[in-house]
């Protein structure tokens, strides 16, 4: 669904154009391909399946497995840290108590990386979960923002802006009260600038929520 061409309630979105398609793959329960500007990510959620033999489900073993696969060669440290961040963001969303001795597996494949891959991956993961119909407490909406040297807040920057930015931040909000689930920021910024950036991220998250709703509406209509 093309974003900026759609109806007016996305007019506030200052980030890169978003396109997404749901239910792309046949094997997984829920899948989606999601693109923000040049960054394209494909997420596939394999529904509650039995835990592979050998791994008994104790209290701590999370019922949510996550694997982020970069497209270039062996997994590097960076892709492993990305994997952890996505896992923590998406894990708090799913009602894992409902299926005993089963687990969900979310596979995110990096198709094209032009900056802001973390928030793109989290949004794709959320859409895949919606598509798979697993029961979720709330949606997770991720936004990347950066503070340029002349203290301008840019939402959803691309690679070049990210490199030259003073501070970059990735925030994941929940869709009810827009509380912060995950925040990961680096670079120098004063406390007020930090507060403004988070405020700006929250607004664009609200718009993103509208976009998610419209995608689901369109998909539901087509399905009936």
């Amino acid at each position: 669904m093309d974003l900026e061409v759609e109806s007016d309630d996305f007019v506030g979105w200052t980030g890169r154009p978003i396109k997404c398609e749901i239910n792309v793959l046949s094997k997984p329960e829920g899948s989606c391909i999601f693109s923000q500007g040049g960054t394209v990510v494909m997420a596939a959620l394999y529904g509650p399946h039995e835990i592979k033999h050998g791994k008994i489900q104790t209290e701590e073993t999370p019922a949510f497995q996550m694997s982020y696969r970069s497209k270039k060669g062996p997994p590097s440290n960076e892709s492993r840290s990305l994997e952890e961040l996505i896992k923590t963001a998406c894990e708090s969303v799913v009602f894992t108590r409902t299926f005993a001795r089963h687990e969900l597996t979310l596979v995110v494949q990096e198709m094209q990386n032009c900056g802001g891959i973390l928030s793109c991956a989290i949004n794709a993961g959320c859409l895949a979960m919606i598509n798979s119909g697993v029961d979720m407490q709330h949606l997770v909406l991720a936004v990347t923002a950066c503070l340029t040297n002349d203290n301008r807040i840019v939402v959803d920057p691309d690679e070049s802006q990210l490199k030259s930015a003073k501070m970059s931040m990735e925030v994941a909000f929940d869709s009810e009260l827009f509380n912060v689930i995950m925040v990961n920021s680096q670079g120098t910024s004063s406390v007020e600038e930090y507060q403004n950036t988070i405020g700006k991220c929250r607004e664009s998250a609200r718009i993103l929520k509208e976009y998610f709703k419209s995608v689901v509406k369109k998909y539901a209509e087509a399905l009936l």
């Binding site: 398609e21 239910n23 046949s26 094997k27 394209v40 394999y46 596979v107 494949q109 094209q112």
Partner: protein
């Protein structure tokens, strides 16, 4: 989700259909599924969809010492990655076999057929040479992984450009894309693997088998052909066959298909260079792979066999109505195979047994549809956007699908009231919400 187990009646059903020269998804025997090829924004990235099988290939290069076996040659490394969830987590045997098998075949097709000119990769012999790494990651598997992977790898190799290297007094400097135009890889020829499934006594050769056909077929034949009709690899596994002609027919078909696929790669490459020339080397890349104008419902365009209980009743009901209306007895014979069209399906005038239903996952094409030539997948029977003109059949059943669901209050969440004797005070047991326990 467990791997889809194919029941015995499935396989018999497929074999019977094949005997009648029909394939479940309506394709002719010598027909490929729909192919989409997209190039990424960075060089050397290709995304291929062959029906439901989706593969992404990415090439990356690194400066390193050449192997001491071949001093003045670069190095090529091919690796096919299949996530264990893609083809069923419990089919450990199958999964390992599939990954190893595909890996071996792709390596034979790309590396051993020496399609990449390795001498050109060498910069300073014995010291520095390019090491090309081909990473193929499988996104979705629905049969015929071999053609998909080899096509993706080949397209990525053709699309890849190594950065320009300047050498000043034995010190090697890699120039960024801005200073020097990167140079493409030099490819001798364009090999492609074409897979066939062989069925039955009279050895029907099925091109581009789906997962179901692959599981059910007696033997598999993979033929590596390049665009100059040279054979560069063959793999035959399964039941032995004495019919020598089979291999000859198959390779003739393979050369046709290979030529067609290479033409596709070249045209797509041309389009990509065109877009890059237009906007200064930048291209939208894989974003174009996202079709926002369609939504695949169960994303099984040709899932003739995946019929849910509800559909069977409805189709049966509408089938009975048609029969009462016509009061004709000759339709009696095929009432047993409800989803499968009747035998005399070649005759044109046979009016459609079932209403071609847009909405449901099941695509039960009417007889006449076989004549048409095959339209690319996903468009014909996928659901168009709501704003497109909807036939009246769907509009009537929109109202009754939203029915009032009882709201659950705290009251009926209480399991039971425990009547304690008067010595202890009254206790209500309330079921705790999972959120409070977090």
């Amino acid at each position: 989700m467990r791997d889809t187990i194919f029941a015995k009646c499935d396989s018999e059903f497929v074999a019977a259909a094949i005997k009648k020269k029909k394939r479940l998804d309506g394709r002719r025997f010598d027909e490929l599924r729909s192919i989409e090829l997209h190039f990424g924004s960075d060089f050397g990235c290709a995304y291929v969809t062959l029906g439901e099988t989706k593969v992404l290939a990415q090439i990356s290069c690194e400066l390193s010492e050449p192997r001491n076996v071949r001093k003045n040659e670069g190095n090529l490394f091919v690796n096919v990655e299949i996530h264990d969830m893609v083809c069923g987590v419990f089919e450990t045997g199958h999964h390992a076999h599939l990954a190893v098998h595909t890996n071996r075949l792709i390596e034979k097709c790309i590396k051993d057929s020496r399609c990449v000119d390795l001498e050109a990769l060498c910069i300073v012999s014995e010291e520095q040479a390019w090491e090309i790494r081909v990473d193929v990651s499988v996104l979705n598997y629905d049969g015929n992984l071999v053609t998909c992977c080899s096509l993706a790898a080949l397209a990525a190799l053709a699309h890849f450009k190594t950065p320009h290297v300047t050498i000043e007094n034995s010190e090697i400097r890699i120039d960024s894309i801005k200073e020097h135009e990167p140079e493409p890889l030099s490819l001798h020829h364009y090999p492609i693997l074409v897979a066939f499934a062989i069925f039955g006594e009279n050895d029907d050769i099925l091109l581009d088998p789906t997962e179901l056909e692959e599981k059910v077929c007696e033997s598999e034949l993979v033929i590596g052909m390049n665009s100059f009709n040279e054979l560069c690899g063959m793999h035959f596994s399964g039941r032995t066959t004495s019919n020598r002609l089979l291999i000859v027919n198959a390779s003739r078909q393979a050369s046709l298909v290979a030529g067609e696929l290479v033409k596709l790669v070249k045209t797509k490459l041309e389009i990509d260079n065109e877009t890059r020339r237009k906007n200064r080397g930048k291209s939208e890349g894989l974003v174009s792979a996202i079709h926002t104008d369609r939504i695949l419902s169960a994303s099984q365009d040709r899932s003739t066999l995946r019929v849910t209980q509800r559909e069977i009743e409805e189709t049966a009901r509408s089938f009975l109505e048609d029969r009462q209306k016509m009061k004709v007895s000759e339709v009696e014979s095929d009432s047993t195979q409800i989803p499968e069209p009747s035998e005399d399906m070649d005759t044109e005038e046979m009016r459609p047994v079932f209403r071609k239903d847009q909405k449901r996952g099941v695509e039960v094409p009417p007889m006449s549809s076989f004549g048409q030539d095959w339209a690319p997948s996903g468009n014909r029977n996928a659901w168009t956007l709501p704003n497109a003109t909807l036939s009246d059949a769907e509009s009537d059943d929109d109202e009754d699908d939203v029915d009032f669901v009882k709201t659950i209050t705290d009251e009926d969440r209480i399991i039971d009231r425990i009547e304690l004797n008067d010595s202890e005070e009254e206790h209500d047991t309330i079921v705790l919400q999972p959120k409070e326990l977090k």
